[in-house]
Symmetry: C2
Subunit: 194 residues, 2 copies
DNA sequence: GTCTATACAAAGATAGAC
DNA sequence: GTCTATCTTTGTATAGAC
């Protein structure tokens, strides 16, 4: 994890982590300011409102994922299986922590209580992931790596749903097996030879 | 849906619906009071704190489920497939709504920001559902209705995760297909003949 | 760009009349 | 059991000095 020394970015770092741990409506400028080591009005200087900060956090998260997923997809050396495995990595990592979930998984739990601009980013995140997964699934099917009978779009939705669900249930039960088992079952479902 | 005329129960009804729509930290005594048609202090008369109210809401939800699941499991007329199908019904129903998710799915998204007493109820809800599903899966395997190679406990976790994840992603994307597709895929995975 | 000080609204909760 | 009135804290946000 890269460490930022730029204040605007450090605010995003702390805000993101706090949302992943506690959610959007449970955190305040004071919490973020304490984490960064500055005062409340300094945050407002960088982000004019909580909604603007929330949007910036999700936008960065979404774009970081988009960039990484894009790289993998465009790398001719990578197989569809490797791309799928890469996709699972952050879920596995969060799955090992006691109280962190995907940023957008946390936000989805309080979706209708979010500012519209934040909702939009969250929706885009999920839609981009479903599209990317669908593409990788089709590629793997064509290459013979994957074997499944369902529509690739339905499979893509199912993979996303399972991983997001596994993270939130993991945290609520304290059972860290959820992620490992989910990925195992998904791979089996895809008939991965891997 | 039964309509309650008892104030204490009506408070639980409204609080539950509001949490399912917006989450715990985004709602207030004022929101609930407006929904019930009373004033804030009347809520406090019935539930001494927000934490106590939250706990009561989840406890009732959990017990209502436990009772229904118990009835199905103890009914000798019901097959394992019928029990599984019954389990999916509320998810399907919430899946058709624009902005409702499972009460405990919503709460899981802000788990660490919940009062300890509420956390405990949510954990118990998930654990009870996993145990119940595991039992039904084993029963179906023994009767020849289900065919799966994984541990029944892992399958039970996976079913719960998928359904919970499908609900929150459904709401965040506005794509109502998530639940239907999830259940279809789960049934196929179980090699359901039914 | 960061701070102190402050405004203003909303939150959870209490006191006490009816 | 429900209300009005109030307390206290915390929230987001602004003004203006440094």
């Amino acid at each position: 994890m890269k460490v930022n020394h730029n204040t605007a970015e450090r605010i995003l770092d702390i805000a993101q982590e706090l949302i992943q741990r506690r959610g959007y409506n449970a955190i305040s400028f004071t919490d973020i300011a304490d984490g960064v080591g500055i005062k409340k009005p300094s945050i407002v200087h960088h982000y004019p409102s909580k909604a603007a900060l929330g949007k910036a956090v999700v936008k960065r998260y979404r774009e970081t994922f988009a960039s990484a997923l894009n790289s993998i997809a465009n790398d001719p050396e990578k197989t569809a299986f490797e791309a799928f495995d890469f996709y699972c990595t952050p879920y596995l990592d969060y799955g090992k922590t006691r109280d962190m979930v995907c940023l957008c998984g946390a936000l989805a739990g309080e979706f209708t209580a979010l500012p519209k601009s934040v909702q939009k980013e969250v929706s885009q995140f999920f839609e981009a992931h479903i599209s990317w997964l669908q593409m990788i699934l089709e590629r793997g099917k064509n290459s013979g790596e994957f074997r499944f009978s369902e529509a690739s779009h339905a499979m893509a939705m199912h993979i996303l749903d399972s991983l997001q669900g596994a993270l939130i249930v993991k945290r609520a039960t304290g059972n860290f097996e959820h992620l490992d088992k989910t990925i195992e079952l998904l791979k089996e479902k895809l008939c991965v030879v891997g």
